[in-house]
């Protein structure tokens, strides 16, 4: 697993961003940036050459699902892996996220092991695809 990849963490709660950032650091990923909703995340994604997007669903402004759709609709960003980390746990929503092209779906509250497993799966598939 390439540890130097650049990761954007999007969540409206700074506590949750901090938790995810700490967990990622523990897993060896230190190259991270933060945004508090889709509206601020999108320009960062455009200018920042990120390798992975980790986003919440329920945020004021632009929601995570809309950010995911915007990423998939953008020729420059459409192949970027997106991991959703959210408290949303309606089956309809999970199906909706899958349809929109999410690469992983983690429900809060979650453990470090879950995050590691989902990241592993994403990279496994990426490396397998190459």
């Amino acid at each position: 697993m390439e540890k130097n990849i650049k990761i954007l963490i999007v969540d409206d709660f700074s506590t949750m961003r901090r938790i995810i950032k700490n967990l990622l650091r523990d897993l060896g990923f230190t190259n991270t940036a933060e945004a508090d909703d889709g509206t601020t995340a999108l320009p960062m994604l455009h200018s920042g050459s990120f390798d992975l997007l980790i986003t919440d669903w329920n945020m004021p402004g632009m929601q995570g699902i809309d950010l995911l759709r915007a990423v998939r609709a953008d020729p420059k960003l459409q192949t970027m892996p997106v991991l959703m980390v959210t408290a949303e746990q309606k089956k309809e929503q999970i199906i909706e996220a899958a349809k929109a092209g999410v690469n992983g779906y983690i429900v809060k509250p979650f453990t470090a092991a879950t995050l590691e497993e989902k990241l592993g799966k994403i990279f496994e598939r990426l490396e397998g695809g190459k």
Binding site: D11, F13, T15, M16, R18, I19, N22, L23, D26, W57, N58, Q63, I65, A87, E88, Q89, K90, K91, E92, Q93, I94, I95, E96, A98, Y105, I106, V107, K108, P109, F110, T111, A112, T114
Partner: protein, 262 residues
């Protein structure tokens, strides 16, 4: 009927006038009694009219209160619902505090022990550098140091684990924040409903409103229904939210996604 209270009504004036004339002309007591009876009856009538009007207003106010289904719904369902949500907040914050405190309490003795041992070794080491230690004692110190290095590794691992536990315990803030925001929205809605109720009962404009709301709800299109289903609702609160349309944890998410070919 209400009339200007500063002017005597014609019915009263007529009868009082007749009574005055009767007294001046020395009329019979029977005639005077009849006029007095009539005046009393007039007075009773206007009292009954006022009372009737008050009763009707009271009745209408009560009706408008019952007719406002939104308020009934808020009071019967959403407020108990909000109470459960707030209890969930209390539980989550209590759990987070317990988790953090346990981790701190477990870490403190480890820090104390490391501190004490480091001080002891510093003293021994100073004696060694000042050549105040014989070979046998040095061998013993060397053995203790070997053990200490091993302990140091496992103890710092424990400390890191506890710090990690404290970090993870902070995730309550995100979840409880979302629940509280939802309850605040509910309180805002209750407030505006109450303001509406006051306006409605004040003006007696009660007809037709609940029905309009009902038809608006029925008329949800397919697309709106879908949007409603995937609209973010925040964390599922056990025992409050419908558990047939939601998943209960990561395992169910994974199962659902793998059933979709993920």
């Amino acid at each position: 009927m209400p009339h200007d209270s500063t002017v005597l009504s014609p019915e009263y004036a007529d009868r009082l006038h007749s009574l005055m004339e009767l007294i001046e002309q020395g009329g019979s007591p029977e005639q005077a009694n009849r006029l007095l009876d009539e005046i009393t009856k007039l007075r009773e009538n206007s009292l009954f009219q006022e009372l009737g009007k008050l009763t009707r207003e009271f009745h209408e106010a009560l009706n408008s209160f019952r007719l406002d289904t939104r308020i009934t719904n808020l009071a019967e369902e959403e407020f108990p619902d909000a109470r459960e949500r707030l209890k969930y907040v209390i539980n989550m914050t209590a759990q987070a505090a317990d988790r953090s405190l346990s981790a701190v309490e477990e870490s403190n003795p480890i820090c104390d022990e490391l501190h004490q041992k480091a001080q002891d070794f510093a003293a021994d080491w100073q004696r060694f550098t000042h050549r105040q230690m014989d070979a046998a004692e040095f061998r013993q110190l060397s053995g203790r140091l070997t053990d200490f290095f091993e302990e140091l590794g496992s103890n710092t691992d424990k400390l890191r684990g506890n710090l990690y536990e404290i970090t993870l315990a902070q995730d309550f803030q995100d979840l409880t924040g979302q629940v509280i925001k939802r309850v605040i929205t509910l309180v805002d809605e209750m407030e505006s409903s109450l303001v509406d109720l006051i306006r409605i009962s004040g003006q007696n404009l009660i007809k037709g409103r609940p029905q309009e709301e009902q038809t608006a709800e029925v008329a949800m299109t397919e697309e709106e229904l879908h949007r409603h289903k995937v609209a973010p609702m925040g964390p599922v609160v056990p025992g409050v939210d419908d558990d047939t349309t939601t998943v209960s944890g990561q395992d169910e998410v994974d199962d659902l996604l793998s059933s979709l070919g993920f």
